[in-house]
């Protein structure tokens, strides 16, 4: 069963528009999406994890439609924003507790798991590492990255090893850094 299916999915609201996007991801797959602008990349990423609802076309996340079952979709898909979070290294436990509470994950387990994940991306700046680590606390099946930093591509791909993920980019070079082996799909809008 595909984890993410997008069929001619579009989104339009004011200056924000994306699509049509057609994509199918099975568990373990990964895909990189190259789009024309930063706005389009932001919208495409949010469409893929159910934060925004498609204006036309279909998006199914693990057989759930974000338009009617957004809570189920958000249990499956995690989102990592492009913008760095305004967080310091000292905010880590508070941030993990906050994310654990929102995803209803046991606090001690979340702290332990987050510490382990943080070790894997130790050299990554806290502003980029925390959202990534936070997204993985809820053990998502699908991770959607909005324009991830190419400088951290190797660490991000290593951290997401075995997970299904899709990332949006505005340049081919950036997308190439996130392509994982021969199994990765490369889309161009």
């Amino acid at each position: 069963m595909p984890l993410l299916r997008m069929r001619d999915a579009t989104f339009t609201r004011g200056e924000y528009a994306a699509g049509p996007i057609t994509l199918a991801l099975s568990p373990g797959d990964c895909a990189t999406m190259v789009v024309a602008s930063a706005n389009e990349a932001a919208v495409a990423a949010r469409l893929a994890c159910g934060i925004v609802k498609a204006s036309t076309g279909t998006v199914l996340i693990g057989d759930y439609d974000p338009r009617v079952q957004s809570v189920h979709c958000k249990r499956i898909a995690a989102f990592v924003a492009h913008e760095p979070a305004m967080l310091q290294e000292t905010d880590f436990p508070r941030y993990v507790r906050y994310r654990a509470a929102l995803w209803n994950v046991d606090e001690r387990l979340a702290l332990r798991r987050a510490a382990k994940l943080r070790e894997c991306v130790e050299s990554m700046h806290a502003a980029f590492a925390f959202p990534l680590v936070g997204a993985l606390i809820g053990r998502p099946q699908l991770v959607v990255l909005d324009r991830p930093q190419p400088a951290y591509a190797e660490q991000i791909v290593a951290l997401l090893d075995g997970l299904t993920f899709v990332s949006t980019h505005v340049a081919d070079g950036e997308a190439a850094a996130f392509a994982r082996g021969h199994g990765s799909q490369r889309l161009r809008a």
Binding site: F11, A42, V43, R97, L102
Partner: protein, 191 residues
């Protein structure tokens, strides 16, 4: 929704606005000590403080919190309740600080001051929350509703001398305001 995500959202929102909340409470203490007795002063000041607290929840002020909340597996109504509670706590603290400061000068000269002031403050805050997630004319319209709701509550309490009428009006209007906010959040596409 369990209380855990609710408390986490409220705490995170209040923590993010802590400086502004402290400033508003200090201002309320100062104004409460200086203002002349009467219901207009506390209602106007505290309702405006409540509206300001609600507007501080506008998307984009704390994008990181907005994104975490929007991507969390929570229903719109659950998110609405938690997001509405934070500015209400700030507004109630402001009103309590005002009334406490006014008490040092003999109170505001109105019986049942606390419920009479607190209920319209909470109502204004909740109605203004609907403005926080809108832009342009709808935002102005909801802000107008918030001020009108405060004025209507004042009319009931001060002019019609009906404290129960004011409380009932505020409770009913607040219920619909939270519902409306929940509906709007459920449909809201956060970018």
């Amino acid at each position: 929704m369990t209380s855990r995500p609710f408390l986490a959202i409220v705490a995170a929102r209040l923590y993010a606005e802590l400086g502004a909340v402290e400033f508003t409470i200090l201002a309320a203490v100062l104004v409460g000590m200086l203002a002349t007795p009467g219901l207009v002063g506390p209602l106007a000041f505290c309702c405006l403080a409540g509206i300001a607290s609600a507007m501080a929840q506008s998307p984009g002020r704390h994008p990181h919190l907005d994104l975490c909340e929007q991507s969390a597996p929570l229903f719109g109504r659950e998110l609405a309740r938690a997001k509405a509670f934070a500015p209400c706590v700030a507004a109630v603290c402001t009103a309590v600080a005002y009334l406490g400061a006014a008490q040092t000068r003999g109170g505001i000269g109105t019986p049942f001051a606390a419920p009479v002031v607190l209920s319209p403050v909470i109502l204004c805050t909740l109605v203004a929350l609907c403005a926080a997630i809108r832009t342009g004319v709808p935002r102005l319209l909801y802000l107008g509703f918030a001020i009108a709701a405060g004025a209507a509550a004042y009319s009931l309490a001060a002019l019609a001398h009906s404290v129960w009428g004011e409380l009932l009006f505020c409770a009913l209007a607040a219920f619909f305001a939270v519902r409306q906010y929940g509906e709007a959040l459920a449909r809201y596409d956060y970018i």
